[in-house]
Every structure is written in structure tokens, then in C-alpha cells.
């Protein structure tokens, strides 16, 4: 969508964007010659339909981010579904599991495996340990009094 000031035969320039409510997108344009302003109000359903295709109305100004549509569109998404691994140094430690540790975790009954994994992961994060190995698991069991896990 572009706007042409008929009196001046000038392309109107984008001035500002507003979200007045009910899903309406308002884009305000100004004629650079006579300063006349006009607001384009989008049909909320049409706007949603276009954005559902994963495209940006008005063109992209930044590269597409991974899972952009899912992250922006899913209403029932987990708050902790993603972790930015490119976070600045000094941020939270990203903990990985060695193959041996994962195998050992597989011995834990399914219904508590998630909780046990979380305990070990938190233990590692608090101590800035980047990889959980069976040795780290042993140490955590001792430190946390988790014999049997």
C-alpha cells in the first residue's frame, strides 16, 4: 500500500504507526509538499491473514528470527521454551549433558525424570558447570543429599 497526494503528485511519506485496538493497524502518511496527513486503517482480519503467512506488511526491516511465527503466534506456549544461547558473557550458563549422563538419567523412572533432570541442571548452573557428567551427578547427589536419584 502506498499513498500519493493527488494535489501535489507527491508520494506521501510514512509518518507513524499506531495500534488503536481491536487488531486495527493504523499507518499515518504525510505529504512532504503540503503536509497533508492521511491514516490508513487496516482490516484486522486481513492484516492477521497476511501476517499468518509469516510475511511483514510493509516489508522486512530485520532478518527473520528462528520460530518467529510460533513464538509470536502460539498463545499456549511455554514461557521457558527457548533459551538464547547467544546471550552476553556473564549471563546464565548453558548446561549440556554428556552421553553417559543421559544414559544414566534414562534409568530414572519416567514420571520423575523431568524433576530429577531439573535438579541436576540447576545444581550445575549454580556452580557454573557447563557439562553434566556421571561424576557431576555423583557429586550433586552427595552435596544435595539425593542418594537414590
Amino acid at each position: 500500500m502506498k499513498f500519493l497526494c493527488v494535489d501535489c503528485d507527491e508520494q506521501m511519506a510514512f509518518e507513524e504507526r499506531q495500534l488503536p485496538g481491536d487488531g486495527t493497524l493504523a499507518a499515518v502518511f504525510r505529504c512532504p509538499a503540503c503536509n497533508r496527513m492521511t491514516a490508513m486503517l487496516t482490516n484486522p482480519m486481513e492484516t492477521q491473514l497476511v501476517s499468518s503467512l509469516g510475511v511483514k506488511v510493509g516489508g522486512r526491516t530485520v532478518p527473520e528470527a528462528p520460530f518467529e511465527g510460533i513464538r509470536g503466534g502460539v498463545a499456549s506456549g511455554r514461557d521457558d521454551a527457548f533459551e538464547d544461547a547467544d546471550a552476553a558473557p556473564g549471563g546464565p550458563v548453558r548446561v549440556t549433558w554428556s552421553v553417559e549422563a543421559i544414559e544414566r538419567l534414562g534409568n530414572v523412572p519416567t514420571f520423575v525424570r523431568g524433576m530429577v533432570k531439573k535438579i541436576y541442571t540447576e545444581y550445575a548452573k549454580e556452580r557454573s558447570i557447563e557439562e553434566i557428567t556421571p561424576e557431576i551427578m555423583d557429586r550433586a547427589r552427595t552435596d544435595l543429599g539425593l542418594e537414590g536419584m
Binding site: 500500500m1 502506498k2 500519493l4 493527488v6 503528485d9 508520494q11 481491536d22 487488531g23 484486522p44 482480519m45 492477521q48 491473514l49 497476511v50 499468518s52 503467512l53 509469516g54 510475511v55 511483514k56 506488511v57 510493509g58 516489508g59 522486512r60 532478518p63 527473520e64 528470527a65 528462528p66 520460530f67 518467529e68 511465527g69 510460533i70 509470536g72 503466534g73 502460539v74 498463545a75 499456549s76 506456549g77 511455554r78 521457558d80 521454551a81 527457548f82 533459551e83 538464547d84 544461547a85 547467544d86 548453558r94 552421553v99 543421559i102 544414559e103 538419567l105 534414562g106 523412572p109 519416567t110 525424570r113 523431568g114 533432570k117 531439573k118 541442571t121
Partner: protein, 302 residues
């Protein structure tokens, strides 16, 4: 006197919608360059154990040394997180990619079950009562992001577990025109055969090879004595094989041991056993593995 108005393309700027859509497909193409073969597991009918077959097949292929990824394309009924024994946790995002979850057996997995809150249905942000207009587009977009945005790395095979129905096969094939094939899962009943026939017909019509038919729940194995007794009436797999000239590549009974292993996310451990059902899964994996090896030789990733 009519006004002389200039055309849209004579003015500067624009939404560039066509190019944006083209770039989306380029992202899919680029990501799949490092994957030798993409195979869809389909049924057309719900409740035939398709996801269990997918999980067991993926695990058996991984056990044979192949690098395997799984896309759970059943966005509204994801079950592969449980079947593959994955614990949902934050997925690292880095450099324009999302890391997949990984199973104990090294299988890479992406599923809506990793992203949606426990016990909640997949819901989209949408004005109340009007979501039907674009829900299909959003789900198609989610499948595209599963393919394009996940750091799959070098894989021998990416298995895509399709939901019941035929619509998502079409979407998948539009995004992955060189699908290596489909595996059709049915149970013996005539109703299942009717639904699966539509999927096979669609697959053939689109020029996608049908690797074979899996006859699931073909009898029930007694948990005590191991004997396979009757379960369903009908012989859908054989009838489909004759009608479409496609092989039956596995006959899998309803087996309490297999079901228990899947519920516990311990299929890898179960596959290390020696029972007859396990041998049937391994044979299925060998058949699919040959298709994968042929695709790799054909240099799909070259």
C-alpha cells in the same frame, strides 16, 4: 477530466510480499541440503499407532548407526516427546537456529509438545471466533519453521510424522518437493484401509514413492505366553498392497512390551532385547534404511 495517477510500481518502496514468501522457501531448501532423505510417515486415519511406528522406526535406525531426526507434524496432538523419552526443556537458540531436543539414542526431535505448556492444547493468538480464517496458514507456517529453523545438522534421514488426514502431506510436499518417500501405516480393518488408500493415492498422484505399508496391530501378543492372537478383522494391508502394487514392509502385533517401552520412553532399551516384535521393527528399519542409503548414494546432499 480524469486524474493522471501514477502506478504502484512507479512509487518507491513496497511490502515485497512475493520475495518474502520466496525467501521462506529458500530457508527450507538451504536447511535440508544437509539431510540425505526426508520420509513421511502417514496413515490418513487416526488411532492406528502411526506415531509409535515412527518412534520405533527412528530408534531402530539410530541404533543401526544412522543419523536420524524426527519432525512431529501432528501439531495439535503431539505424542513423540513422550514416545521418544524426551524431557521438555528450554531449546537453545543461536545464530538464526533452534537446537532440536535430543533423545538418549541421539535422535533429533522437534515437536509442538516441546513448546506448548503441559496439559494445554495448541492455541493461537487470534480474535475470538475468527481463528478459522488463518489457523491453517499458521499451522503451515509452524511446519515450515520446524523444517527451516531447526539446527538439524547432517542427517541421513528426517522422518516426518504426519497427522491423520491428507492435508499436511500436501503442505509438506510443497515445501519438500524431493521427498524420498512415504510409509503408510494401517491397521487391518476395512475402515482403516479406506482412509489409508486415500493417502496412498494422494502420494502416488503427487509422484511420491510409497516405500511400503506397515500393518500395525495385526493381532495381539499375549503378555504372558507370547502367542499372537486375533485382534482386528480384515486384511487392509494386503488389500492395499495388491491395489497399489506396494510392499507390506512390516506386520507389527499389538505388543504390551512395546507399548510399555514407548510409554516409558525406553524404546532403545527395548530394541536391545531379543523378542519377535523387536525383530519385526528392526526389519522395517532395514527396509527404510535401504531407501535412505540409496538417497545418500544419489547425492541428494551433494
Amino acid at each position: 477530466m480524469p486524474l493522471e495517477i501514477r502506478t504502484y510500481n512507479e512509487l518507491e518502496g513496497g511490502a515485497d510480499l512475493g520475495d518474502q514468501v520466496a525467501r521462506q522457501q529458500q530457508r527450507v531448501d538451504h536447511r535440508l541440503e544437509s539431510i540425505a532423505a526426508v520420509i513421511a510417515v502417514m496413515s490418513g486415519k487416526g488411532g492406528v499407532g502411526k506415531s509409535l511406528v515412527t518412534a520405533a522406526l527412528a530408534t531402530a535406525l539410530a541404533s543401526s548407526g544412522r543419523r536420524v531426526g524426527v519432525v512431529d507434524a501432528d501439531l495439535n496432538g503431539p505424542s513423540l516427546v513422550r514416545l521418544l523419552g524426551v524431557e521438555p526443556e528450554a531449546l537453545p537458540t543461536s545464530g538464526g537456529s533452534v537446537e532440536p531436543a535430543r533423545t538418549i539414542d541421539g535422535i533429533a526431535l522437534m515437536s509442538m509438545g516441546l513448546l506448548v505448556r503441559d496439559g494445554e492444547a495448541l492455541g493461537w493468538r487470534e480474535p475470538e471466533g475468527a481463528g478459522f480464517v488463518w489457523r491453517g496458514a499458521q499451522e503451515r507456517g509452524a511446519l515450515r519453521e520446524f523444517l527451516a529453523d531447526v539446527a538439524w545438522g547432517e542427517l541421513d534421514l528426517l522422518l516426518v510424522d504426519l497427522p491423520p488426514g491428507t492435508g499436511r502431506l500436501v503442505e509438506l510436499h510443497e515445501m519438500v518437493p524431493d521427498l524420498a518417500g512415504t510409509v503408510a501405516v494401517t491397521i487391518p480393518t476395512p475402515a482403516s484401509g479406506d482412509a489409508v488408500a486415500r493417502s496412498i493415492e494422494l502420494s502416488r498422484r503427487r509422484g511420491i514413492e510409497v516405500v511400503g505399508i506397515v500393518s500395525n496391530m495385526e493381532g495381539a501378543r499375549c503378555g504372558a505366553c507370547g502367542v499372537i492372537g486375533p485382534l482386528h478383522s480384515g486384511s487392509a494391508a494386503d488389500e492395499l498392497a495388491e491395489r497399489f502394487d506396494a510392499p507390506v514392509i512390516a506386520r507389527i502385533p499389538l505388543d504390551p512390551a512395546l507399548g510399555r517401552a514407548a510409554d516409558e520412553g525406553a524404546l532403545g532399551r527395548w530394541l536391545a532385547g531379543t523378542d519377535d516384535t523387536r525383530a519385526r521393527i528392526v526389519e522395517l528399519a532395514e527396509t527404510v534404511g535401504r531407501v535412505v542409503d540409496a538417497a545418500r548414494r544419489a547425492g541428494r546432499s551433494a
